[in-house]
């Protein structure tokens, strides 16, 4: 399978471990990713806050580039994926925008989760597992942008998504039931109202601790950065040491598939999952 690849800005910067683990997982499953040449920023969580044209036109440019190549495009970053999908939706409704960006909708925009969750890929993944994640207690954390807004993303169930649960089960992990799969971590106010973000993130971390999770698993680079980097502040504020690794699903795919590079990804985390994974004999 050949797909265009839209890494987005974050995967070239603070979420390099998502970029590397995602491309490794894709290649292990026989997917050829071709980076979209000359891609530019989708506008992320900021364009829609400041200007209606930027909100749609920035991702529309990337959609046009992708359609010229006549291949479906995958965007692992949850924000990029939403912005591209929302722009495609808007182009269908807004004639003026369609004139500027004549995107016909002949290609699909895929999220990373949507891609790996396909029946044939999930089966392939399961058959390639060499190191089942036995005994690893995980909570799947989808965050907002994997399921909302539902009219754009059309999730099977916006309140209780199961895609990541099923993929983690395929890897052999012990998937825990917990109530905060899609509760917001506060990411969009990370730098502007850090005090609020600490509260929201702490709520999630507390619940993960309550169900005795070893790691929290996500696919969203904003959630990962937010929850990983704020644990030191939360520890200082509360007097309790918070040390819950926040790992990408694709990093765990790397571990289960026996990818020797996995350790190098964990070096990028502030709260490294290395110790817990080593204690379970997984790395």
């Amino acid at each position: 399978m050949e797909l265009s690849y839209y890494p987005g800005c974050t995967l070239t910067g603070s979420a390099q471990e998502l970029n590397e683990s995602f491309t490794n997982a894709a290649s292990a499953l026989g997917i050829t990713l071709k980076e979209l040449p000359d891609w530019t920023c989708c506008g992320a969580s900021s364009a829609h806050m400041v200007d209606a044209y930027l909100e749609s036109a920035l991702p529309a440019r990337d959609l046009l580039l992708a359609e010229e190549l006549a291949r479906d495009v995958v965007a692992p970053c949850a924000a990029c994926h939403l912005r591209l999908k929302a722009a495609a939706h808007r182009i269908g409704e807004d004639e003026a925008l369609r004139r500027d960006f004549p995107f016909k909708g002949e290609i699909k925009v895929l999220s990373g989760l949507e891609l790996f969750h396909r029946d044939e890929l999930r089966a392939a993944l399961k058959s390639k597992v060499v190191k089942p994640l036995e005994g690893l207690r995980v909570v799947p954390y989808y965050g907002c942008l994997a399921v909302r807004p539902p009219e754009i993303l059309q999730p099977a169930d916006p309140e209780n998504p199961m895609e990541m649960d099923r993929l983690l089960e395929a890897l052999g992990a012990e998937v825990l039931d917990w109530p905060y799969k899609t509760d917001c971590c506060g990411g969009s106010l990370a730098l502007t109202r850090t005090d609020l973000v600490l509260k929201l993130s702490r709520k999630l971390l507390d619940m993960a601790l309550m169900v005795d999770a070893d790691v929290m698993v996500t696919f969203c680079p904003m959630c990962q950065a937010n929850l990983d980097t704020r644990q030191e502040d939360i520890s200082r504020e509360t007097g309790h040491a918070y040390q819950i690794p926040i790992v990408y699903l694709t990093e765990l795919m790397g571990v289960a598939l026996g990818n020797p590079q996995a350790r190098s990804w964990f070096g990028k985390h502030l709260v490294s999952p290395e110790r817990i994974l080593a204690s379970k004999g997984l790395i």
């Binding site: 800005c9 974050t10 070239t12 910067g13 603070s14 390099q16 000359d38 891609w39 530019t40 920023c41 506008g43 992320a44 969580s45 900021s46 364009a47 829609h48 806050m49 400041v50 200007d51 209606a52 044209y53 930027l54 909100e55 036109a57 920035l58 440019r61 500027d100 907002c144 399921v147 909302r148 807004p149 539902p150 009219e151 916006p158 309140e159 899609t182 509760d183 917001c184 506060g186 990411g187 969009s188 106010l189 730098l191 502007t192 109202r193 850090t194 609020l196 929201l200 980097t229 030191e232 502040d233 070096g267 990028k268 985390h269 502030l270």
Partner: protein, 182 residues
């Protein structure tokens, strides 16, 4: 419907009209949006109250609220609304005018961050995280917040010193010319 198109707001910000107005007019104030909002406890106007003000055309109260910039755009409200009203869509309509009109608001650091972000995109075509954080700190004079975290991220190789310049840079600059952030 026609009436809603004609409603004038007292100041620089226009009330919702057209499609947006007809959607929010369906609100029957059940409060489900406010019940599920993760930042409701911090808000001076709750989501269902903002929708009501939008219906009444009293957008000035939303402009001068804390809530307009505390909204996380997590879309929990919209996903649960029985009438398909997405509060962030209403707020985006107002936020765009606040930014374009450079109207003074509460929580000014929030729009400052988003405009800094967009200036970074205009300049480089892609986001360069290190200069984004630097510019934001310059704008808000918050030099020392998160300094330790920033250094740690730098040490881990999560921040790049030099931005990359994609060729699409000029196309992005052209797109900005048609926006309010010229």
């Amino acid at each position: 419907m026609e009436q809603s198109n004609m409603r004038a707001s007292s100041g620089k910000v226009t009330a919702p009209a057209g499609e947006l107005a007809s959607v929010i007019n369906g609100c029957y104030q059940c409060g489900k949006c406010s019940a599920g909002c993760p930042v409701a406890s911090e808000m001076d106007l709750l989501p269902h109250q903002m929708v009501r003000l939008g219906v009444l055309g009293d957008v000035e109260r939303i402009v001068s609220s804390q809530s307009i910039w505390l909204c996380l755009t997590c879309h929990t409200c919209g996903a649960r609304c029985p009438n398909g009203i997405d509060v962030p869509a209403l707020l985006d309509h107002i936020r765009h005018q606040v930014v374009a009109g450079k109207i003074e608001t509460q929580q000014p650091q929030v729009p400052a961050f988003h405009t800094t972000f967009m200036q970074n995109v205009r300049r480089f075509g892609r986001v360069h995280e290190l200069s984004l954080v630097g510019m934001y700190k310059m704008k808000t004079k918050t030099w020392f917040a998160d300094m330790k975290l920033g250094l740690e991220m730098f040490r881990k190789g999560k921040m790049h010193i030099m931005p990359k310049f994609p060729f699409g840079n000029n196309a992005v600059k052209e797109i900005f010319k048609k926006s309010s952030l010229k």
